[in-house]
Amino acid sequence: MDFDLTDDQRLLKDSVDRLIADRYSFDQRKKYMAEKDGWSRDNWAQFAELGLLGVSFDEAYGGFGGGPVESMLVAEAFGRGLVLEPFFATVVLGGGLIKRAGTDAQKMAMLSEIAAGTRLVAFAHVERASRYNLADVQVTATKSGDGWVLNGEKSVVMHGDCADTILVTARTAGSRRDRNGIGLFVVDAKAEGLTRKGYPTQDGLRAAEISFANVRAADVLGDPAGALPIVERVIDEAIAVLCSEAVGLMHEMHVTTVDYMKQRKQFGRAISEFQVLQHRSVDMFVALEQARSINMFGTVMAGDDDAKSRSRAVSATKVQIGKSGKLIGEEAVQLHGGIAMTMEYKVGHYFKRMTMIEALYGSTADHLAKVADSGSLFA
């Protein structure tokens, strides 16, 4: 057992940390947000150059050849910087699905372009009534000639507005919540019959509502009736990455709060001298360290082949992250006072991203129910 990084991992961490330090001050971030896509194409090219867009792909597909730990390092740094670019949608979700479900040829075609920064991908799976149930799919895919035609609507597709390629879960057989009968289709964002409406999300990122009216899929990934287990696996892996991002957010909120407390004077002294505030910031620290600790467990377990123990561990991680994140986010705002209520100050933005992460892929309550239904966490 050791928590040390390998030399390659340390180099990766140094380079992504430097990237964030150089390119992601709070003021720089505001400029990126004002760009046409709501993020920076220039940053994206830089990410590609550093190998971050292929961090978890095999070298054969232009990737960095990293595993869960590498993804953790990148995501944590991105969390600290509150990165806007579609890394999660394109690399983690899109890349993850193609990596797990694609054929060699599909991987060669798509992963190498993702890694090179020339293809943006989004994953469309949420529907109006599905909430967090990945099996609840009403968008249909019907066979037509040697291809598939999609109909229906998907919601809150992260970075669906800018994606070149949309991966879509659609029902090819069975009824609404059947685990069987779900396929994973590759759709060109410019395909006829596809309309999308992009909008900003609370955390300053972007999403889209996408509707499909007789849209011809460009391709299908894996078994057109049996995609769900792979989707679930990739979502488990994606949750672990989100949790790592959240650790970065929590770290930054905590550090910012402690620094602010030392500077802010009221009643003739720094507010950091008030014990009640000291203790509350210690509780934030303990929550942060608990989150960091379980995230290491979740990161490693996300790579487990056994679906049950993998999911249980990832859900447990999401619960602790959600619990710690809520405490740290709310307290970071509270201990700052009025300043944290403003768009001009950074802490509120971290709080907002943290809040969105809590709601992504299942709330704390949902994941707690999952853990509770799957037996003890201890072998």
Binding site: M1, V258, M261, E273, Q278, V282, F297, L377
Partner: protein, 400 residues
């Protein structure tokens, strides 16, 4: 980052597991796992077995019976001993006075006390707290004066755990009232049979007799019973309290308790079903498990951080272990009460304290549920209260 242990580390774990589960009587281990009190004889018996096999005081210097273990080995020792329900060495002996004597005592003191302390031939108690000196321990007033070559002690200690069983007490005394309060304290060893010592029981809210008041009335102690230098006692006490803090995390013991609670909840009827079938109960149980999993990882991170570093100053992050570890122990007693339901109510006392089902109503385990819940409030108070731990983190880590 690799969360797997090496084959040698796992072999060590298995060796410990086998030893604790085969060599220590099951009757003792079951009592511990059920949250019941042990008798004095049981505590002595198991410590002597451990000591016979060289496993009572692994944290001590090797020449006095300690082990030159890696941090991971120390972790597995603690985890396995707790998982097996073995009480382990009496903390006052093995993690408090023993290491202090080994580190700061004279050769004569080491020879006289260390082997007997390891074997629990001497039962020690801790004479630190006073009615006026709790968290602010350095404010203690029990005084020792050197008169005709003897220390004469006058004053009162309180909260003295298991003082009723003790042969010796290590006492912090005021030896210079005219300097900064931390600089006038000495660490003195005192035989409990010395004339002038009176022990009075204090009953705790669970009904048990676990703590005492100890009065010193012109108690005469040989001059050589002082540890280290006069007026340096505060340094030795701080050294000791660092050891105490990490011992309070009890991750292994909490794992064992949660396992037992799961078993009990799967048996205990609730309508047509079992307590474990209730999703609200399961979620509460899972939440505690998740926090414990995180704490286990935190503990491993702190251990990994020790690797290759000299033993010594406690990592201030170990305050997290104390705070979270104590909270988790308290939540666990709350869960046990959930399993017991209305059967937490019958109260019975015996010589061994409360917690035995003397009344005979309801399931056997239920009798200890409420007393354990009441009793475990102590873990966030002693060993440096959780507020004091927050002060430590605020100062040492956050730089306030």
């Amino acid at each position: 980052m690799d969360l797997n242990f090496t084959a040698e580390e796992l072999a060590f774990r298995d060796e410990m597991r086998k030893f604790f589960r085969t060599e220590i009587p099951e009757s003792i281990r079951t009592k511990v796992l059920e949250g019941q009190h042990l008798t004095k004889d049981e505590i002595i018996l198991q410590q002597r077995i451990l000591n016979k096999h060289g496993l009572a005081v692994p944290g001590w210097p090797v020449e006095w019976g300690g082990k030159d273990w890696t941090p991971v080995q120390r972790y597995f020792y603690a985890d396995e001993i707790q998982l097996a329900g073995v009480p382990g060495g009496l903390a006052f002996n093995t993690s408090m006075v023993g290491p202090v004597i080994a580190q700061f005592g004279s050769e004569a003191q080491k020879k006289k006390f260390l082997p007997a302390t390891a074997n629990l031939d001497i039962w020690w108690c801790q004479g630190f707290s006073e009615p006026g000196a709790g968290s602010d321990l350095a404010g203690l007033r029990t005084k020792a004066e050197l008169i005709d070559g003897q220390w004469v002690i006058n004053g009162q200690k309180t909260w003295t755990t298991l003082g009723q069983h003790a042969d010796w007490i290590f006492v912090l005394c005021r030896t210079d009232p005219n300097v900064k309060k931390q600089e006038g304290i000495s660490y003195i060893l005192c035989d409990m049979k010395t004339p002038g010592i009176t022990v009075r029981p204090i009953q705790t809210i669970d009904g048990g007799h676990e703590v005492n008041e100890v009065f010193f009335d012109d108690v005469k102690v040989p001059a050589e019973n002082i540890v280290g230098e006069v007026n340096k006692g505060w340094d030795y006490a701080k050294f000791l309290l660092g050891n105490e803090r990490t011992g309070i995390a009890q991750v292994g013991a909490s794992k064992a308790r949660l396992k037992r609670i799961r078993e009990l909840a799967a048996i205990e009827p609730m309508g047509e079903a079992r307590v474990l079938d209730n999703p609200k109960f399961r979620e509460k149980l899972s939440m505690v498990e998740i926090e414990l999993k995180a704490l286990e990882m935190t503990q491993l991170r702190i251990i990994a951080d020790e690797k290759g570093k000299a033993k010594g100053r406690p990592n201030p992050a170990s305050s997290i272990l104390k705070m979270k570890g104590s909270e988790i122990q308290q939540w666990i007693t709350d869960l046990t009460m959930d399993v017991a339901g209305p059967y937490i109510m019958p109260f019975a006392m015996s010589d061994e304290g409360s917690g035995r089902n003397e009344v005979g109503y309801g399931p056997e385990f239920a009798a200890a549920a409420a007393p354990a819940y009441f009793n475990k409030r102590k873990v966030s108070i002693y060993g440096g209260s959780n507020e004091i731990q927050r002060n430590i983190i605020a100062k040492a880590i956050l730089g306030f």
